[in-house]
């Protein structure tokens, strides 16, 4: 009996192993995409990477009339093998510029392809040398947040970027030092973004309740309409440290982009917060990177962030109060935005 059982076991173990080996050998290899480091090959690779990964084709077609298939034919005839790398770079950048997306960039050792029309085509509404007069020389810095109390007992915070790792502790220390102020100005003009969670960390100190701030959706396949079902996103009130309860004005301009745009999206929903200035630059796609056969890096929007009403904010968010810098104020070395914000906060007392 024992010998019989061993024979059976031997038989099945052997055949099971053989079957598995055969199945694995028959399975196809997992190979890289077609690789062709010619001018045409790089052009096709760029078009295909964008075609399979970019997340705003439908929206850009609706808003700008961009037809990615038509673009392929229009630019393909501009490519030839005799062109220089600089010429190829120029054509590829032109093609990408059709999308008018600041998150779409082509990066080569000699240049950085971009379309920054979201702010270059509009008034800057920010004068760095005049804004610095308000900070003076004795301002404090908490992980990139520059802050000072102005003469009229209003706190002024200059937030130039979300690249630095601002945490609850930094924000709380800053808010604690301005606890006796009538109100707070958060100046994010020209803030091109950074880390999304840092933007949310700062915003979380201005709400006492969980806020539904929007939806998020990512691509689930190569098809242009392959998206996950949108998932709701929430801003939770800061659990550590101080939550600000007084009026706040946030100053924006067209240079507010990406994570800073998301910051405005969240702050607009917070109580006691007023957004003043110009429309933001937008940039509601989370960018991913890939590369071309020649080693140039391509960056593109890959994940879509919507607002709470499922609207895109790719082309910016309107402020509650529109402003523009006044030439007369500039002549007096005054920043119209900051002055209007102070006026507004003084009336809110």
């Amino acid at each position: 009996m024992r010998h019989f059982a061993h024979n059976i076991f031997r038989f099945f173990t052997f055949h099971f192993s053989l079957f598995t080996i055969a199945a694995c050998l028959l399975a196809s290899c997992v190979k890289e995409d077609y690789f062709d480091n010619s001018k045409q090959g790089n052009y096709e690779a760029l078009w295909r990477i964008m075609n399979e990964h970019y997340c705003f084709f439908d929206y850009k077609k609706q808003e700008l009339g961009v037809d990615w298939d038509e673009i392929h034919g229009r630019y393909a005839y501009k490519i030839n093998e005799k062109m220089t790398n600089a010429q190829l770079f120029e054509v590829l950048t032109q093609m990408l510029s059709e999308l008018q997306d600041g998150h779409v960039n082509l990066s080569a050792p000699f240049d950085f392809g971009r379309n920054w029309s979201f702010y270059e085509d509009h008034p800057e509404n920010y004068n760095d040398s005049i804004a610095k007069l308000y900070l003076g020389h004795n301002y404090h810095i908490a992980s990139g947040l520059k802050y000072i109390i102005l003469d009229d007992n209003i706190g002024y915070v200059r937030c130039e970027s979300f690249e630095e790792g601002v945490g609850d502790g930094n924000v709380s220390v800053m808010l604690q030092s301005m606890a006796l102020c009538h109100g707070l100005i958060i100046d994010v003009r020209g803030n091109g973004g950074g880390q999304l969670d840092k933007a949310r960390t700062l915003a979380s100190h201005f709400t006492n309740e969980r806020l539904h701030v929007g939806y998020i959706s990512h691509k689930t396949g190569k098809g242009r309409n392959d998206f996950s079902s949108p998932k709701a996103e929430y801003l939770d009130p800061a659990s550590d440290g101080i939550r600000w309860q007084k009026p706040v004005v946030v100053l924006t301009n067209r240079g507010v982009y990406s994570a800073a745009n998301d910051f405005i999206k969240c702050m607009k929903l917070c109580p006691n917060v007023t957004i003043m200035g110009d429309r933001t630059g937008g940039g509601s796609g989370m960018p991913f990177n890939n590369e071309l056969p020649n080693g140039w890096t391509i960056r593109y929007s890959a994940v879509v962030y919507y607002d709470k009403d499922m609207h895109h904010t790719e082309f910016g968010i309107e402020p509650d109060v529109s402003l523009s810098l006044s030439g007369a104020d500039l002549a007096q070395k005054k920043d119209t935005y900051i002055e209007k914000a102070r006026e507004y906060l003084s009336k809110s007392q």
């Binding site: 055949h15 080996i21 190979k31 480091n37 997340c55 990512h218 990177n289 890959a302």
Partner: protein, 285 residues
Amino acid sequence: MAILLLLSLYAYSQDSQTSNLNLQLGGANPQISNLNKEVLHSSMIGVGSSNILDTYLSSYNYTGTDIRIQRETMRMTNLWGGRVSNQSLIDLNGDINKNHARNIDEYAGGIRYSQGWFYNFFNGNTVNPVERSASRFNVAAGLAASGYLGVVYIDRSGNNPAQAKADLMIDVSALATYDMVIAKHHYLWRYQVTFPLIGMAFSPNYGQSYYEAFVAKHYDHNVVFAYPGNMPSMRHKLTLDVPIKRYTLRVGYVAQFNQSMFNHLKYHSYSHDFMIGFNKYLYRR
């Protein structure tokens, strides 16, 4: 596949019944039990080539150097009349690669741990075939439970610079040994092939960011069922044991072809390493 799995389990149950019968009759042969107290420890280090594709990070292959360390313990057990050997394997590797244009660096690495049980055919002993087997050629086959944790990182900014790798698998594995005698010296050849069979693996979705998966906790098919259809992988190991006085030198070649196609993301990690190390035989009291 499922039918064959069931048949295999049936065979397992048949043999278990035989084993139970043996126990009722007085247990395993004590002579076999004494033989089965030997344990083989093998430690090897190696270097070779690496080729990694991960389309979550890049559409193209990165190639370079692979460094590998393996620590293996094998012992015969008293299961099924002393015919089953147990293998414990720790496989640690690291890669430094570059893309086709050689202008972007990639770093990858991981650790795999597996526990396998092998049925030794033809009264064989694949732990110490030179001293314990009647035959010079031995074959064993069995199943192993293995787990892998790793990472692939590409040195550039962005929201997809790295990819985590993790799986928990049942592997099918077979090994063969051949005792080659030259001038009264025994040179032992050993070959092992392993195929991941079924299990679970981690993968982000096609365009899902790690921010979504781990910060916002928006999971989307991130734990996938793995089988040869979407994870056609295999690992080969060929070694030669060379006796040098009281020691046994082990030289070998390890080839690993790990592949997956989860959530429309393609991944492969091919490596070829030349290994060198030592064996140590211990006797358990």
